[in-house]
Amino acid sequence: AQSVTQPDIHITVSEGASLELRCNYSYGATPYLFWYVQSPGQGLQLLLKYFSGDTLVQGIKGFEAEFKRSQSSFNLRKPSVHWSDAAEYFCAVGPLGNEKLTFGTGTRLTIIP
C-alpha cells in the first residue's frame, strides 16, 4: 500500500531564511508526487508535481522539489521564505494512472520576523 510520511509536524523559520520540508513516500513503482499548500481557512492549492523526467521540479511561488528515488523522498525547498508562505503543506503520492492520492499528515510552517 502507498503511504506518505511528513516527519515534521511544525516548522518555524525566519523570514528570508531558506526552507526545506521533508516528505518520504512508500510505493513499489514510479509514483506521481505532489505538494499542496493550504492557507488558513482555505482549500488546497497545488504547488508542484512530479510525474517523470527531470527530478528537480519547479513550482509556483518560488518553490521547488527534488525527487530522489534512492531515498524515497520528495522534499520541498524554497531559498528565501516570505511571511505569506505561512501555511500548512501537504505531500501526496499516487500511482501512475490511478486516481487514489494518499496525503501526508501535513507540516505547519510558521514564519517569524
Partner: protein, 112 residues
C-alpha cells in the same frame, strides 16, 4: 462561478440528523473526490467517482453515502451524523488526462 464550489461552507447539526454536503464543478472533470481533514490525519479519501453513476469507496467510507447523477455534482450525505464526523470536508476534481486534483474551499461540519 467557474471552478469548484462547496456548500454550505459551515454547518452545525445534531447527532442522528441527516446532512448533505454539496460539491459542484464547472470544468466537466470526470473524476470527483470527497476527503475529510482531521488533525493528525491529514486528508483521507471518503469516496470518489470516475464518472456519472460510477462511485467507489475510499479509505474511510463508513457512515457516508454519495451519488453522482450529473457530471458536475457530487453530493456527500451523512445519513445519521455522529460526533466523530465532525471535520472539514473537501471536494476535489480532476480530468481524465492527468492526476492533478483541484480542491474546493471546504465545508466545516460540526456535529453536536
Amino acid at each position: 462561478d467557474a471552478g469548484i464550489t462547496q456548500s454550505p461552507r459551515y454547518k452545525i447539526t445534531e447527532t442522528g440528523r441527516q446532512v448533505t454536503l454539496m460539491c459542484h464543478q464547472t470544468w466537466s472533470h470526470s473524476y470527483m473526490f470527497w476527503y475529510r481533514q482531521d488533525l493528525g490525519h491529514g486528508l483521507r479519501l471518503i469516496y470518489y467517482s470516475a464518472a456519472a453513476d460510477i462511485t467507489d469507496k475510499g479509505e474511510v467510507p463508513d457512515g457516508y453515502v454519495v451519488s453522482r447523477s450529473k457530471t458536475e455534482n457530487f453530493p456527500l450525505t451523512l445519513e445519521s451524523a455522529t460526533r466523530s464526523q465532525t471535520s472539514v470536508y473537501f471536494c476535489a476534481s480532476r480530468g481524465t488526462s492527468g492526476s492533478v486534483q483541484y480542491f474546493g474551499p471546504g465545508t466545516r461540519l460540526t456535529v453536536l
